[in-house]
């Protein structure tokens, strides 16, 4: 298939600066470029917004304060007030995932080749994020509760006859958490961007067919507009879902008996 109509061509990782140590490829790729861009944008936006520290917040400061309160409220309602010690982790994850998703929605970006790229549409990136979350959950859970952390797998009030099965199911569900946390974000971004490109391909194909077919090209065009709006919603929703699941898993580390 030609590059223009191949729906997965947009996910290709291309090195910008070639670099390798002892046979390991450590090139600075377009994926790294967009991660750096996301972090720099978040830091710039937040430090500009909170630079003045006005008592009556202006427009930019309100956005920063609303985001802060949004994440803090999310932690308070799911992990309780003592979950707020994980605020920096959750806020960082939320901001990074949201900014990466939103940068991915831009088809043209001041990058080499001027092409947009979604870092979160790569499984290795989302698995990295999920691994951070699960390490913190297991590490802090064991540090705070010791062996009491294992109570997580033994729900109270279950009859002794079915308890082994319940424990087995709880263990499997705990082990599948990092997989579902990473695959959900990755597959949502991947599927959404493939969908956009497939519908955009219909426009080009109908336009190339000419005559009455070209007039019909307006239909997939409206579809692409609608799906783009939907994808912006998904981009936000998946960042929110990632953050709230992080809070729920952290609340397990804080209060393992349930």
């Amino acid at each position: 298939m030609a590059d223009a109509t191949n729906p997965i061509e947009q996910f290709q990782i291309k090195p910008i600066v070639d670099f390798s140590i002892a046979g390991y490829d450590l090139s600075f790729t377009n994926s790294s470029y967009f991660m750096v861009a996301a972090v720099l944008l978040i830091v710039t936006l937040l430090s500009v917004a909170t630079g003045k520290r006005a008592l009556v917040p202006g427009r930019a400061q309100s956005v920063a304060e609303l985001t802060y309160e949004f994440v803090a409220g999310m932690i308070r309602s799911t992990a309780g007030p003592d979950g707020l010690r994980f605020f920096p982790l959750v806020f960082t994850l939320f901001a990074f995932v949201l900014m990466s998703n939103m940068l991915g929605m831009m088809h043209y970006f001041p990058a080499p080749g001027l092409k947009g790229f979604t870092t979160t549409s790569h499984l290795i990136v989302t698995i990295g994020l999920a691994a951070i979350v699960m390490s913190v959950v297991v590490g802090y859970g064991v540090y705070k509760n010791g062996f009491g952390f294992l109570k997580l797998f033994v729900p109270s009030g279950v009859p002794a006859a079915v308890l082994p099965f319940v424990v087995l199911i709880e263990v499997i569900s705990f082990l599948s958490r990092p997989i579902s946390l990473s695959v959900r974000l990755f597959a949502n971004m991947l599927a959404g961007h493939i969908l956009l490109k497939v519908f955009a391909g219909f426009i080009v194909m109908l336009g190339a067919a000419g005559g009455a077919w070209a007039a019909l090209g307006i239909l997939p065009f409206f579809m692409v507009v609608a799906i783009t709006a939907l994808e912006f919603l998904v981009a936000f929703l998946q960042a929110y879902v990632f953050a709230i699941l992080t809070c729920i898993y952290l609340s397990d580390a804080l209060h393992p008996g349930h």
């Binding site: 309602s77 579902s180 709230i244």
Partner: protein, 78 residues
């Protein structure tokens, strides 16, 4: 028609794997439907349940995503 039988099996398998999303579709529809039903009866309590709504949605959706992943693996990796 050309191509080998393994290629054909890949496409049929990918199509079959997508059927798994049917269950997730029913589940997600059920979650939002039930939420609206409850929210319209008691609008005052709806706001605090938004987090639970999204959590249920995320957990249910993950199962559909798994079948999509199998389809993508069959198409592009195997």
């Amino acid at each position: 028609m050309d191509g080998n039988i393994a290629e054909m099996g890949k496409f049929i398998g990918a199509g079959l794997a997508c059927l798994g999303m049917l269950g997730a579709a029913i589940g997600v529809g059920n979650i939002f439907g039930s939420f609206l039903q409850g929210a319209l009866r008691n609008p005052g309590a709806a706001q605090q349940q938004f987090g639970n709504l999204i959590f249920g949605f995320a957990v249910t959706e993950a199962l559909g995503i798994f079948s999509l992943l199998i389809a993508l693996l069959l198409l592009f990796v195997v």
